[in-house]
Chain length 332, copies 2
């Protein structure tokens, strides 16, 4: 999933920089937080805290119908959007859906996709209020738009020198699950034992594959003002930590031996002859949360500290090195 810089034809990051400089205008009425965080924070009726975010998933880029089902794509679209609301310390309330289906998309496919959307919305307690169904020239492109509320939104920009860095769960499971799917090259039924003709026993693969195909995101359990900065980990810890530090104007040091990795992911990496550290740092779509706090937090994993400047990882040999410049860049 890592995209080397040389392959990046138009840098997503450079375009976003362009947008932030071009669009920062006097027209931004009642905007507490605009472009550049997990969600925008808007003021309505004098009250801050209306959140909105939009995320697009494209066939062949964000999902592959070789191994995903329509239901899973619908479910995942909602999860990745809700993740942005949770990452602001908010609660989702409303959802809009736009879907451009391909000319050969069947009605059965469309209805299964919608069923995944519905089950996920029911799970997260949000309701569908609108959208647009249309046709694409080729390939399926779906966009979720989620709105919610946060009493006290948590941004990416509040990290301060001396804060501790935390993540809410294991890293690399989703990227490792995707790698397993590339060996299987067929849709899997997540609720069935998928038989013995697999690279490893199904119960050991299932959590990884489930995490990739149909992530269920959890609201981070934090005290109201525990986190000084927060974001979801959607493009890999290394890239997302880089973003959080850039927004906060700080640096970071993290410790390789403190990065949480699941036993399933470690076993699968060995079998696949892949580096689990690469999955953890550079693999996208973890949909866990990265946050900073001046406090000691029991409910998350401490992985490092906010510093003045620089992005450093202390490896297993206690050597300091630059944090890998990797991560999932969407716009290649």
């Amino acid at each position: 999933m890592t995209v080397s810089d040389s392959a990046v034809k138009i840098g997503e990051l450079s375009l976003i920089r362009h947008i932030r400089s071009e669009f920062s205008s006097a027209l931004l009425k009642d905007v507490a937080i605009g472009i550049g965080d997990d969600a925008a924070v808007l003021r309505v009726g004098g009250r801050e805290g209306l959140l909105i975010s939009a995320d697009t998933m494209c066939e062949g880029i964000h999902f592959d119908m070789t191994f995903a089902t329509a239901y899973q794509v619908g479910f995942k679209l909602v999860s990745v959007n809700v993740s942005d609301i949770y990452a602001m310390g908010g609660t989702p309330n409303w959802f809009l859906l736009t879907a451009a289906f391909a000319p050969d998309t069947s009605e059965k496919f469309a209805k299964e996709f919608l069923s995944g959307v519905k089950d996920a919305l029911d799970l997260y307690g949000a309701g569908l209020v609108g959208g647009d169904i249309t046709s694409s020239k080729s390939g399926i492109v779906v966009t979720g738009i989620v709105m919610g509320f946060a009493e006290k939104p948590i941004t990416r920009s509040g990290a301060r020198v001396g804060d501790k860095i935390y993540v809410t769960g294991a890293l690399g499971d989703s990227a490792c699950g995707l790698e397993l799917l590339r060996h299987i090259m067929a849709p899997v039924e997540l609720d069935k034992d998928n038989g013995p003709d697999r690279p490893m026993p199904w119960p050991a693969m299932r959590p990884l594959i489930h995490r990739h195909l149909m992530p269920i995101v959890l609201k981070p359990s934090l005290g109201a003002s525990a986190a000084s900065a927060m974001m979801d980990i959607s493009d890999g810890l290394a890239l997302d930590l880089r973003r959080l530090c850039a927004e906060s104007g700080v640096g970071a040091v993290i410790y390789e031996n403190k990065l949480p990795m699941s036993s399933h992911m470690l076993a699968a990496s060995e079998l696949l002859d892949k580096d689990p550290l690469h999955f953890s740092l550079c693999g996208g779509e973890d949909y866990e949360y990265l946050f900073t706090s001046a406090e000691d937090i029991d409910t998350a994993r401490y992985i490092g500290d906010i510093t003045d400047t620089g992005l450093v990882m202390i490896d297993k040999n206690n050597d300091a090195k630059d944090l890998a410049d990797c991560g999932y860049v969407h716009f290649i």
Copy 2:
């Protein structure tokens, strides 16, 4: 632009019916108007009137890079979204943008597209607050999300028997402009005289082509409670009137000789050997407004009356016939 029913592989309308029945759940908190109108109407802080709508445009379906420029596509995306807010009697305030660019999209293209978005937002007085930039497998797919406010939202469902039916401007210009572009088969510079090697003189074609490539939408000038029902005309008068009547549970009669058609459109239709009535009834993307009112309205064109049931057009010979079952169906 008309899609015959036989060509409709999955009916957009049937899918939307499916969505409306499947997704009407107890989870719809603080939703005054949900799926099925130009925009959803939400309650925030006990106050009704937050509007949100999303519209997607796909390359090869909604726009054709054979004759559109990136700037025009960006501008149009904002206009068609703002049209949904104006159609509710609202004012736009915030905008989100998602764009899936193709692998061969250049940075120049992306920046020109963004420039069109920005100029349109400046024109309508809305600010960009977020979105998502990503990559598609092939073809460009862009989605606009617009939020606004209406003190007293005007829905599609308020038309009552005896109300008069109005439209705010000429019909068929955009569809006729598209037909002209299909003869030109190249991008045109809207602000230049495009020379003599054209199917008709540029000053006569320009308003039609401009209307198609880069529509500028106007807020309907209506008294606060003059309209009983309203919607924008995006898929052709015949289909959109059908939708308004269905939502209101009424019928309609319209008069062919009252349909407003521009002199440019009439001249171009003659040259193209096309029926101007077909452009007016069945052509999409007029982005004028269709509304009903119990009052006499000077600022719009009276075209018919709301009846109990049925959809009838009185033609030029004073014969009553069923209103054409035509219009632009997006999901083919």
